[in-house]
C-alpha cells in the first residue's frame, strides 16, 4: 500500500516544525502551530518547551488540544502561569520563537485577524480579533507566520492592522517602539519566505514541489522579491514523519485534514 503524500496543511506543519531547534522555548498559537510544535517534539527536537497564551506551559505531550486552555496544553505541567505573566516571559527574553496565524498578510509581514472587507463599522466579516496575536508580534524575538496563501490572504493593503511586522519597512518597526526582531519567515501552502534585510519586503526562500515562482506570484496580491540564483525546492517530509504526524500528532485530523 502506498501512503498518500503530505497534503498542503501537513506540509505546512512539517516545514514549521523544522523551524524549531532542540532546546528552545516556543510560543504556540491555536491551529497549525500546535501541530508543528508537537511534531517537532516527537521528532528532531525532544527537549523543547511549548508555551501557550492561556498560561499553560510545558505539558507532557499528548494528543491535539481542543482549546489553548484544554488539558493537553497543561497535561502534568509543573506549573501554569497567569495570562499576564505568560506574555511577560516573551518581553523578558525567555521565549525563542513564536508561531502565529493570519487572515491577511501584507508584504511587510503585518497581520490582520480582525475583519475582512469594508471598514470597521461596515465590514463583510468580523473575525476573531487579536487574541494573543498582537502581543506575540509586538514582543517576540523570532516570529514565524503560518497559513494558506492566496491573493485574498497575501494582500497589498490590510483591511485592519491587528499586528505589526515591519510596519512600512526599513527601521519603522523599531521606531514605533516595538521590541524583538519582527517576523523572520512566513510558511504557507506554496512556499517559505523571508524578509529582505534592508527594505523588509517579503522574499521567496524556497517553494514547495510543483510551485513555480509564477504560480507563487499569482497567489499573491503584491510583488514578491526573489533571491539571487535558482529558487530552492522546499524539502518534503519522509514517510516516517508523515506517519508520526497522522498517527500520533493529529490522529483525528483536527488541523491537518483538508476541508472537503
Amino acid at each position: 500500500m502506498t501512503a498518500k503524500p503530505a497534503n498542503p496543511l501537513e506540509m505546512i506543519a512539517y516545514v514549521l516544525a523544522r523551524q524549531i531547534e532542540d532546546g528552545e522555548v516556543v510560543y504556540i498559537g491555536t491551529g497549525l502551530p500546535m501541530v508543528a510544535g508537537i511534531l517537532a517534539k516527537k521528532t528532531h527536537a525532544p527537549n523543547i518547551t511549548l508555551v501557550y497564551e492561556s498560561g499553560a506551559q510545558n505539558p507532557v505531550i499528548g494528543d491535539m488540544p481542543w482549546s489553548v486552555a484544554g488539558p493537553y496544553t497543561w497535561r502534568k505541567s509543573p506549573m501554569i502561569l497567569e495570562m499576564s505573566y505568560s506574555f511577560g516571559q516573551i518581553y523578558n527574553g525567555y521565549v525563542d520563537k513564536a508561531f502565529l496565524g493570519y487572515a491577511q498578510l501584507d508584504m511587510y509581514g503585518n497581520v490582520n485577524t480582525h475583519m475582512i472587507g469594508g471598514d470597521f463599522h461596515n465590514y463583510k466579516n468580523r473575525l476573531t480579533g487579536s487574541g494573543g496575536n498582537n502581543d506575540l508580534s509586538s514582543l517576540a524575538k523570532h516570529l514565524v507566520l503560518v497559513g494558506l496563501q492566496s491573493p485574498q490572504k497575501f494582500v497589498k493593503n490590510l483591511d485592519f492592522m491587528t499586528s505589526v511586522g515591519y510596519l512600512t519597512g526599513g527601521d519603522s518597526r523599531k521606531k514605533a517602539g516595538l521590541v524583538g526582531d519582527g517576523p523572520k519567515s512566513v510558511i504557507t501552502s506554496a512556499g517559505v519566505y523571508d524578509f529582505e534585510p534592508e527594505s523588509k519586503r517579503m522574499r521567496i526562500t524556497s517553494l514547495h514541489p510543483g510551485v513555480s515562482p509564477e504560480l507563487a506570484q499569482l497567489a499573491t496580491g503584491f510583488e514578491l522579491l526573489k533571491p539571487a540564483g535558482e529558487i530552492p525546492v522546499t524539502p518534503v517530509p519522509t514517510q516516517e514523519i508523515i506517519d508520526i504526524l497522522r498517527k500520533e500528532v493529529d490522529p483525528r485530523g483536527v488541523f491537518t485534514s483538508m476541508p472537503s
Partner: protein, 372 residues
C-alpha cells in the same frame, strides 16, 4: 470636561458619543472602585446564597461584566444563563477571551463590547458575533490584545494606576481603544514609545472555582487566566463553586487558593456550573453539544432563539441539561474519565477520545451515544 482624557479621534473612530462616556469612565475609575471595596463587609461571614439570589443582588442593568475562565474552560456559563433568565439588560462585556457575550447580546443583556478574541479556536469565527456587531446590537468600545487587557486587570490587582508596556504600538488597535495611550518612557534618553494601560475595574464578575468555603475563599485547579486579578479588581464578586468545603480544608491544603474571602460578595454551591464548557479535573466538554452551538445556534441566522428556549426556558438548571440532553449519569462518568485521562491523572491508554462530529443530519447532541 469629564474626569478622563480620552483621545477624541479614537472616540470618533469607534462612534462613541457623550452618553456612552460614564460607561467607559467606570472601567478605569479607581476612586469609585476603592470606595466599593471599602464599603463591602470585610468580615468572614457565611455568604452562601442561591444562584438566583446572587445574580439578582450583584448583577445589575448597565454593569460592566467581566467574562472569566477561558472561553469555555472553567467559565460560569450556567450563571450566564441565569442572567438571561432574569432579563438583565444593557451590560458591557469585558474579558480575554470574551466569547460568551455571543449569546448575551441577542437578548439585550450585553449592549457594549470590549473585543479581545471572539471565536471558538479550531471551530473558527463566531458568525453570530460578526452579525450582531454589524447590526449594532452591541457597540465595540475597545479593541484589545489578550496581553494588554491582562495587564490592565493585573495593574488593578497590584494596586497601581496602570502599566507601561510594549504591545499594540504601531497597530490599528491603538486607534480603536480609548483606554490606551502611546507615551514616552521617561527614563530613557532616546525616544522610547510605550503604551500606557490603565488599571481596569469591572463592576461585577462571576468566577467559577473548584472549591470555596462559606466565606468566599476560593481554590482553582488548572489555568487561572486573569481570574485572580479580576477578583481583586471587580467591585462585586460572585463565586460559584463545584463544592463548598470547611474553612479548615483550605487552611490544611492551601495550594491553588487564589481568591481571598474579602473580595467575595456571594458564594453559590454549583456542581457542573461550567457546563456547557469543561472544568479541569472534573468534566470534559460535551463536544457534540458545543459543536451544535458553534455550527448551528451561533452560526445560522435566527437559530439563537432556539438556544434560548433550550438553555434558559426548557432547562431550569445544569441538571436539566445533563438529564434531558446529555445522557445523564453515563455522560457524567464519561466526561470525568475523558478529562482525567487527558490530564493524565487516569491511565489514558485505552481511553477512546473519538466521537462523531455534530452535523445537521444527526442533530442530537448527546455525544456518548454510539454513532458507529
Amino acid at each position: 470636561m469629564g474626569k478622563f482624557n480620552y483621545d477624541k479621534e479614537v472616540l470618533a473612530n469607534l462612534r462613541i458619543d457623550e452618553k456612552d462616556l460614564p460607561r467607559l469612565d467606570r472601567l478605569i475609575d479607581y476612586d469609585s472602585a476603592r470606595e466599593a471595596h471599602e464599603k463591602k463587609s470585610h468580615a468572614a461571614i457565611d455568604k452562601r446564597v442561591s444562584l438566583k439570589e446572587a445574580i439578582s443582588e450583584y448583577v445589575k442593568d448597565g454593569d460592566i461584566l467581566a467574562d472569566t475562565g477561558f472561553s469555555y474552560v472553567r467559565t460560569p456559563i450556567i450563571a450566564y444563563f441565569e442572567i438571561l433568565r432574569q432579563g438583565i439588560k444593557g451590560m458591557t462585556s469585558i474579558g480575554s477571551p470574551a466569547t460568551n457575550q455571543s449569546y448575551l447580546i441577542p437578548f439585550g443583556a450585553v449592549t457594549h463590547s470590549h473585543w479581545s478574541y471572539c471565536g471558538a479556536e479550531m471551530r473558527g469565527t463566531d458568525r453570530n458575533m460578526s452579525r450582531l456587531i454589524k447590526e449594532g446590537k452591541s457597540k465595540v468600545v475597545a479593541e484589545w490584545s489578550h496581553g494588554s487587557m491582562a495587564l490592565g486587570f493585573k495593574a488593578a490587582q497590584l494596586g497601581i494606576p496602570g502599566v507601561y508596556s510594549k504591545q499594540l504600538l504601531g497597530s490599528d488597535m491603538v486607534k480603536y481603544n480609548p483606554f490606551v495611550k502611546v507615551v514616552d518612557n521617561p527614563m530613557k534618553t532616546e525616544k522610547d514609545p510605550c503604551v500606557f494601560i490603565p488599571a481596569l475595574y469591572p463592576d461585577t464578575a462571576i468566577i467559577h472555582v473548584h472549591q470555596a468555603d462559606k466565606f468566599g475563599n476560593a481554590k482553582i485547579y488548572g489555568p487561572l487566566i486573569n481570574d485572580a486579578a479580576i477578583a481583586a479588581a471587580t467591585r462585586k464578586l460572585i463565586i460559584t463553586a463545584e463544592e463548598i468545603v470547611p474553612p479548615n480544608s483550605l487552611r490544611n491544603d492551601n495550594k491553588g487558593v487564589v481568591i481571598p474571602f474579602v473580595y467575595s460578595d456571594a458564594v453559590v454551591e454549583m456542581p457542573y456550573g461550567a457546563l456547557v464548557g469543561a472544568m479541569p479535573g472534573l468534566y470534559y466538554w460535551p463536544r457534540r453539544l458545543w459543536e451544535k452551538i458553534m455550527r448551528y445556534w451561533a452560526f445560522k441566522e435566527g437559530a439563537i432563539e432556539e438556544f434560548y428556549d433550550i438553555f434558559v426556558v426548557q432547562c431550569k438548571d445544569q441538571y436539566d441539561i445533563i438529564d434531558k440532553f446529555l445522557g445523564g449519569s453515563k455522560w457524567m462518568m464519561d466526561a470525568k474519565r475523558l478529562t482525567k485521562a487527558e490530564e493524565y491523572d487516569n491511565e489514558d491508554d485505552g481511553v477512546d477520545f473519538h466521537y462523531k462530529e455534530w452535523t445537521m443530519n444527526e442533530p442530537d447532541f448527546d455525544d456518548i451515544k454510539d454513532y458507529k
